[in-house]
C-alpha cells in the first residue's frame, strides 16, 4: 500500500513539475501583457521536436537541447512581434483567438516540417529504474524534478535580483509608470514571450524521454498548464508552481485509485471545484471592482 502510494506520488511529482513549468510560462506572459497565450503548449512541442531533429542530425544531446530552447524562444518572440504587438489594445477575446490561431498554425507547420508520428528523445542518463521505498522511478524523472527546481530557483533570482527581471516586473505592475522610468516596455514584452517559450521548450524536452513527443503533444499540456496557472491564481509565480504540483499529484492519485480512463478529466474537475469556492484560485488576490 505504502509502496503504491509512494509510486503515485513520485509519478505525480514528475508530471506536476512539467505542468508547473508550462504554468509559469502562462504566468509570465499574462503578467507582462495580460494575454492568455493558448499557443503555450506549442512551445512545449517545438522544444521536443527540434531536439529530436537535431539529435538525428548528429548533434550531441546537450547542444541539441540548447539549440531547441533557443529555437522555441525565437518562435515565442516572433509570435509577440508579428501577432500580439500589432493587435495591442484589442479585446481579451480577440487576443485569445489570435493565440489560438497561432497554435493551429504552429501545429500545422509541425506536420509539414516533421510528420504525425511519435518521436523519442533519449533519456539524459540511462533507463535503469531506481528503487525508492518499494517504488521505482526512472532516472529521467529525477532530471525532470531537479532541473525544474533549478529553473524555479533561477527564475526567482532573475525577477528578484537582476535589472532586466525587475524591469519586466515593473512593466507588469504598471506599463505607463515603467515607461516613464525609462524602461523599454515593448522590449520587455518581447523578452517575456521569449522567456516563456524557452520555459515551455525545457518542459517539452524534459518530458519527451518519458512520454514521447509529437506534433500535437502541446494541446493537453497547454490546457493543463493553463489550469495549473489558474489554480494557483493567475499571475502568481509561486501559485503557478504549486498549482502545477497539486494538479500533477492529484491526477496521478486519481488515475491510480479512481479511474485511469478519466485521468485527463481530473485536472479540470479539480479546477472547477476550486473555482466554485475560491473564484480567484488558491493563492490569487481577491479582485475588487473599481466603480
Amino acid at each position: 500500500m505504502a509502496a503504491q502510494l509512494t509510486q503515485f506520488l513520485l509519478t505525480g511529482l514528475t508530471v506536476g513539475a512539467i505542468y508547473a513549468l508550462v504554468a509559469l510560462g502562462f504566468a509570465i506572459i499574462y503578467n507582462a501583457s495580460h494575454v492568455i497565450n493558448f499557443a503555450q503548449g506549442e512551445f512545449v512541442m517545438v522544444g521536443g521536436m527540434v531536439t529530436v531533429s537535431l539529435i538525428h542530425a548528429g548533434l550531441p544531446l546537450l547542444a541539441a537541447i540548447a539549440l531547441a530552447v533557443l529555437a522555441a524562444a525565437a518562435v515565442g518572440m516572433a509570435l509577440e512581434h508579428f501577432a500580439i504587438e500589432p493587435a495591442r489594445g484589442a479585446s481579451p477575446v480577440t487576443l485569445i483567438i489570435i493565440t489560438i490561431g497561432a497554435s493551429i498554425l504552429l501545429r500545422g507547420l509541425a506536420t509539414l516540417v516533421w510528420d504525425k508520428k511519435l518521436h523519442n528523445v533519449p533519456s539524459f542518463s540511462g533507463e535503469a529504474p531506481i528503487q525508492i521505498g518499494g517504488a521505482t522511478i526512472l532516472p529521467q524523472s529525477l532530471w525532470v524534478v531537479g532541473i525544474s527546481l533549478l529553473i524555479m530557483f533561477l527564475l526567482g533570482r532573475f525577477f528578484g535580483r537582476t535589472l532586466i527581471g525587475k524591469a519586466i516586473l515593473a512593466t507588469s505592475y504598471n506599463p505607463m509608470a515603467a515607461q516613464l522610468c525609462g524602461i523599454n516596455v515593448r522590449f520587455m514584452l518581447f523578452l517575456s514571450f521569449g522567456l516563456s517559450a524557452a520555459l515551455g521548450a525545457v518542459a517539452g524536452i524534459l518530458i519527451a524521454p518519458i512520454t514521447l513527443t509529437s506534433w500535437d503533444v502541446g494541446v493537453m499540456l497547454g490546457l493543463k498548464g493553463f489550469a495549473a496557472a489558474i489554480l494557483g491564481g493567475l499571475g502568481s509565480g509561486v501559485g503557478a508552481v504549486l498549482g502545477g504540483l497539486i494538479l500533477g499529484i492529484a491526477e496521478s492519485l486519481g488515475a491510480g485509485y479512481i479511474s485511469s480512463a478519466y485521468k485527463d478529466a481530473i485536472a479540470f474537475v479539480i479546477i472547477l471545484a476550486v473555482l466554485f469556492f475560491m473564484p480567484n484560485g488558491l493563492f490569487g488576490k481577491h479582485g475588487l471592482d473599481r466603480v
Binding site: A87, I98, L105, A265, I271, G281
Partner: protein, 313 residues
C-alpha cells in the same frame, strides 16, 4: 413609427437570402454545406448573446452541442424513443444542466470564467469519448433519422428548409431578446456589472438566463445535426470545436447577430475551400484566423459598417 428598422431590414434580408439560396445550390454537396452553415449559425447566434451582449466568454459550448447530439442520439437509437421526443427531452435536460452549473460558473470573471467553461467542455468531451458503451467512443455512433408522424425526414432539400426555418427563428428570437428588458439589462452588465447592479438589475439571474438560452441553442443545433447526418463523432464536442465556435462569433463581429451568422458561414466555408490545399489546410486556417483578428479586431461586419459609414461621409 418606422417599420423598416435595421433589425427588421436585416431579418428580411436573411429571409430573402435563405429563400433564394436553393437557386444556386447546384448539388447535394452544397446543400450539405449550407445545412452545416445553418446549424453552426444557430449555435453562434446563441453564443453571441452570451459573448457579445452579456460579455461572458465560453470556451466550452461545443460541450453543449455534443450533449445535444449524443443525448438525442442515445435516447432515440439505444432506448427507442421517437426522435422528436428525444430531442425535446435532451434539450430540457441540457437547459437544467446549464441552469445548475451556470450559477457557480458565471460568478467567475474574465480568464477564470474562460477556464471554468473550458474545463466543463473538456470534461463533457472526455466523458463522451470514455463512455464507449453508450456513445461508441472515439469511433462515434450512428443515429436513427428524425421522423414526424411515422414519416422519416430525409433528403437534403427537406433538411435545408428545416434548418433554414430554425435559423430564421433563432435570429428573430435573438433580436427580440436583445431589445427586450433582459437584453438591455445584459448590455448594461457588459458595460459595468456594478453599475448595473446599482440600477437594480439582478446580474447573476440575467447572466445565468442568457447562459441557459445559449446552451439550448447549441444543444438543439447538436440534436438536429445528429439526426441529419445519421452519424456523430466526439470531435463535435471537443475543445477545438468550442474554439471554432468562438472564432466564428468573433470573426463575424461580436455583439452583432448578423455578424455571428456571417462568421459561421465564413468559417464553415473556409475549411471546405481549403481542402484543395491538403496538408497546408491547418497552416492556412491558423494564419487566416490570426490575420483577420489582427487587422479586423472588431470582426467582419462591424468593420464593414465602419467602412461604409466613412465612405458615406
Amino acid at each position: 413609427m418606422k417599420w423598416m428598422t435595421p433589425r427588421r431590414g436585416g431579418l428580411a434580408l436573411l429571409l430573402v437570402l435563405v429563400l433564394a439560396l436553393p437557386l444556386v445550390l447546384v448539388n447535394n454537396y452544397w446543400y450539405e454545406v449550407a445545412i452545416q452553415i445553418g446549424l453552426n449559425a444557430v449555435v453562434c447566434v446563441g453564443l453571441n448573446l452570451l459573448i457579445g451582449y452579456a460579455g461572458q466568454i465560453s470556451l466550452g459550448h461545443a460541450g453543449f452541442f455534443g450533449l445535444g447530439a449524443y443525448g438525442s442520439a442515445i435516447l432515440s437509437s439505444h432506448y427507442g424513443l421517437p426522435a422528436a421526443l428525444a430531442i425535446v427531452l435532451t434539450n430540457v435536460g441540457v437547459a437544467l444542466l446549464a441552469l445548475l452549473v451556470g450559477r457557480p460558473i458565471l460568478r467567475l470573471k474574465g480568464n477564470y470564467l474562460a477556464m471554468a467553461t473550458l474545463g466543463m467542455g473538456v470534461i463533457i468531451s472526455i466523458a463522451i469519448v470514455t463512455e464507449d458503451k453508450l456513445t461508441g467512443g472515439p469511433d462515434g455512433m450512428s443515429v436513427v433519422p428524425l421522423a414526424l408522424f411515422g414519416q422519416p425526414l430525409t433528403g437534403e432539400l427537406l433538411w435545408y428548409w428545416l434548418v433554414a426555418f430554425t435559423l430564421v427563428a433563432a435570429v428573430a428570437l435573438a433580436l427580440n431578446l436583445i431589445d427586450s428588458p433582459i437584453g438591455r439589462a445584459l448590455r448594461a452588465l457588459n458595460g459595468s456589472e456594478v453599475g448595473a447592479s446599482v440600477c437594480g438589475i439582478d446580474a447573476t439571474r440575467a447572466k445565468v438566463g442568457i447562459f441557459v438560452i445559449s446552451a439550448v441553442f447549441a444543444s438543439f443545433a447538436g440534436s438536429l445535426m445528429a439526426h441529419y447526418s445519421g452519424f456523430i463523432t466526439p470531435g463535435k464536442a471537443s475543445f477545438f470545436h468550442s474554439i471554432e465556435l468562438v472564432a466564428m462569433v468573433v470573426f463575424g463581429g461580436m455583439s452583432s447577430t448578423f455578424g455571428a451568422v456571417i462568421g459561421a458561414a465564413a468559417l464553415t466555408l473556409l475549411p471546405q475551400l481549403l481542402t484543395v490545399l491538403k496538408e497546408y489546410e491547418m497552416v492556412v486556417f491558423g494564419a487566416v484566423m490570426m490575420l483577420t483578428m489582427i487587422f479586423f479586431p472588431r470582426g467582419f461586419l462591424p468593420s464593414l459598417m465602419l467602412l461604409l459609414a466613412r465612405i458615406r461621409k
